[in-house]
């Protein structure tokens, strides 16, 4: 799966999880930029990525994503890393 493909699929997952078909993801987006991206939705997002991309995050990845300064760009990089490994 190339980068463009992963980005497209992640965008679809964001749209499904937040129920908003107009979401366009950008690397600098954080939880503040998307309505409803609370801690509950964050869990749903991680589960959806694992289910739909058929991959697994490590525990440390999951904690990392909750830290300040993390954004869609770092999320994407993490997915690519896990898909590649």
């Amino acid at each position: 799966m190339d980068d463009v493909d992963v980005r497209k699929r992640l965008q679809k997952i964001f749209r499904d999880v937040f129920g908003d078909p107009t979401i366009e993801i950008r690397d600098d987006m954080t939880a503040k930029d998307i309505e409803g991206w609370d801690s509950l939705a964050h869990v749903d997002l991680i589960i959806a990525v694992e289910q739909k991309m058929k991959m697994k995050f490590a525990v440390a990845d999951i904690s990392l994503l909750k830290e300040p300064g993390q954004n869609v760009g770092s999320f994407l990089r993490l997915i690519q890393q896990r898909l590649g490994s």
């Binding site: 499904d16 869990v43 589960i47 959806a48 289910q51 490590a58």
Partner: protein, 642 residues
């Protein structure tokens, strides 16, 4: 409009399809729901409800949930069942799934969810949120991590036993508090058991090993539980889902989730099915196709000797296993019916001629084999058994037949069957259609009743006049208050009866215990025998005494005994009771529902005078004076027990 039509067509196509086609059709289905919801949210919701299935994964279920339980819609009507979910682990994910699966079954709930790990505090602290909520069912969504006492590895068996007894006593106290404070039913997880551990296989011989200890606790919990506690077998569920997936620790470590994310949907569905059983809405009838469902091949072509069934081939044994599973269902009270496209005599031949058939004709409460469409046949089976189609499961190996029934009879549950018969049991069992929370004697013999009833109907057709028929039945009625022996069956009847039910008030076992003990309540149960067999407990009347009035709170009867004078008999009993209690009138109410038009004129036909009406609801009164004549019937009061 044209667009709505297109959306509806796409939705119907999805709902009729089998699981393989549904997987790729899910996104278009949601798109269609979205476009429909813009015009009509209610319609989108009712279509969405039908798509709720344990076969969907967590993410898909949550997407569907937006249509089925829209956030802004008003919820929590007074009729909603009040369910408290008190987690050891966090229950956010689980709660949303339980609510969704119940909505899929048309069961409306109001949920109170405790914060993670606070189940003991919520129960024990006066004035907690739970206290204000007044739950009807309390689900203790606990896990093995919530066990308070864990043995040290060097403890001997005696010390482990003492520790287990103390641990169980704590849980019993929690249940008693729930029951005492809110009169609620308790839904209790047992403890899931993760295989493995430092002792390896030797753990089996060591009482202090974690698995052994948890198994001991699970056994003791069940032995110590009063009847208002219903167990949810989390241990079995974890094994069924697969230990590797269930015990995936990552989501517990980060989010304190109760199980791996792949297993959440199974967990939520399993709990919802138990709640459905508690409110008496489990399925009652399994309707079976024959060719390639109960045996391999077509009996019309191959003859009873040529069909593939029985020892000697894996496929033949798979059909035997499936029949054995169905036989077990039948033996615990689920009715079986046959609906097959065949000539009737040919369809019966395997039952009559093959000794290795596990299902016998006597196991089949209604046998229909013809060339009509199956939806019509299902309707006719429902009429003959006098049961509603929403209590039916339809099992057929042919996708086309399944699609027809799904389209024409959406209230019937239609599971997919795989092409391979070795997967039939799993395909049916995973839906948990027939969960039960109390196994009563009546369950065991219910299938027999229906057979006896068929004979009674045959008898009735031989008597030209109904009175000589009723007299010939030799009916004897046992009248008792609700007591320890009949309380489970009485509760079951109150929660299951839809048609002969004057007020459709539902009570949990816990509430029934309370009423049976309360000073101002009077309860009557009616059990009927006749020359053809035992009908068991067929009626319950709950009455409240208010000064000189006896108020009929609940009056339910099994529809099996309609037209046999049971109402008249019961009315006479009420009059006797009112006299004994020094009351001067009996007051009754009829609250109409979609299903109880049958008893609209119930009170009028028993000589009650109208008191008034409030909308569709009517109240009635019968004044008790010396002149109240007993109504005529042909039932003898069973003096031995009465």
């Amino acid at each position: 409009m044209a667009e709505d039509q297109r959306a509806t067509d796409a939705i119907c196509a999805y709902l009729q399809a089998d699981v393989a086609a549904r997987a790729s059709g899910f996104d278009p289905f949601l798109d269609a729901l979205t476009s429909l919801a813009e015009d009509d949210e209610d319609e989108a919701r009712s279509w969405g409800r039908r798509a709720v299935s344990p076969l969907l994964d967590y993410s898909s279920l949550l997407e569907l949930r937006r249509f089925v339980l829209p956030a802004k819609a008003a919820r929590g009507s007074t009729k909603a069942l009040r369910l408290a979910i008190l987690g050891g682990p966090t229950t956010n994910q689980l709660r949303r799934l339980i609510e969704l699966f119940l909505a899929g079954e048309g069961i409306e709930v109001e949920i109170h969810e405790a914060d993670y790990g606070l189940f003991r505090q919520e129960i024990l602290t006066p004035g907690s949120g739970l206290d204000a909520f007044r739950p009807e069912i309390v689900f203790l969504a606990t896990s093995a991590r919530d066990v308070g006492r864990v043995p040290l590895i060097d403890m001997d068996e005696e010390a482990v036993c003492r520790m287990a007894a103390a641990e169980v006593a704590d849980w019993v106290r929690l249940w008693e508090t729930v029951h005492g404070k809110w009169n609620a039913a308790v839904l209790q997880n047992n403890f899931e058991i993760m295989p493995g551990g430092a002792l390896g296989h030797y753990a089996l011989r060591h009482a202090a090993a974690r698995q052994n200890y948890l198994e001991r606790l699970n056994r003791l919990l069940v032995q110590s539980a009063p009847s208002y506690v219903v167990f949810h077998d989390l241990r079995g569920l974890a094994a069924e889902a697969g230990a590797r997936a269930w015990f995936d620790p990552r989501f517990y470590l980060e989010f304190k989730m109760p199980c791996g994310s792949e297993c959440l949907a199974t967990y939520g569905h399993s709990v919802a099915c138990l709640v459905r059983a508690i409110v008496g809405r489990s399925k009652k009838v399994v309707v079976l196709d024959l060719d390639n469902t109960l045996w391999g091949g077509e009996v019309g072509d191959l003859g009873p000797g040529g069909i593939r069934l029985g020892q000697g081939s894996g496929e033949g044994e798979a059909f035997l296993d499936f029949q054995r599973y169905l036989k077990e269902l039948r033996d615990r009270g689920v009715l079986l019916a046959v609906c097959s496209k065949n000539d009737e005599d040919k369809a019966r031949e395997p039952f009559e001629q093959r000794a290795d058939m596990i299902l016998k004709l006597s196991d089949i409460s209604c046998f229909v084999a013809n060339w009509e469409n199956k939806a019509d046949n299902l309707r006719s089976i429902a009429r003959r058994l006098d049961l509603k189609l929403d209590s039916f499961v339809f099992v057929d190996d042919r996708p086309a037949e399944r699609a027809v029934v799904r389209r024409l009879l959406p209230e019937v549950a239609v599971p997919d069957l795989p092409a391979d018969p070795s997967g039939y049991i799993q395909a049916l069992a995973m839906h948990r259609y027939t969960e039960t929370v109390a196994f009563t004697r009546e369950d065991l013999s219910r299938a027999q009743y229906y057979a006896e009833n068929a004979r009674r109907e045959e008898l009735a057709s031989r008597f030209s006049d109904i009175r000589s028929f009723l007299a010939s039945l030799g009916m004897r009625m046992k009248v008792e208050p609700v007591n320890a022996l009949n309380i489970e069956r009485a509760t079951q009847l109150i929660n299951k009866s839809n048609q002969f039910n004057l007020t459709t008030r539902r009570y949990t076992l816990a509430q029934m215990h309370e009423m049976a003990a309360a000073g101002d309540w009077r309860t009557l149960t009616f059990s009927l025998r006749d020359n053809l067999g035992d009908n068991g407990l067929i009626g319950v009347v709950l009455l409240r005494k208010a000064e000189k009035s006896l108020i009929v709170d609940t009056w339910v009867m099994s529809c099996r005994v309609l037209q046999r004078g049971v109402e008249q008999f019961a009315r006479n009993e009420l009059v006797e009771l009112a006299r004994k209690e020094g009351c001067d009138r009996i007051v009754g109410t009829y609250i109409p529902t979609a299903k109880n038009a049958l008893v609209k004129d119930h009170f009028a036909s028993l000589g009650f005078e109208p008191l008034g009406a409030e909308g569709e609801q009517t109240s009635w009164s019968l004044s008790i004076h010396d002149l109240v004549e007993p109504l005529a019937h042909y039932i003898e009061r069973d003096a031995a027990h009465g």
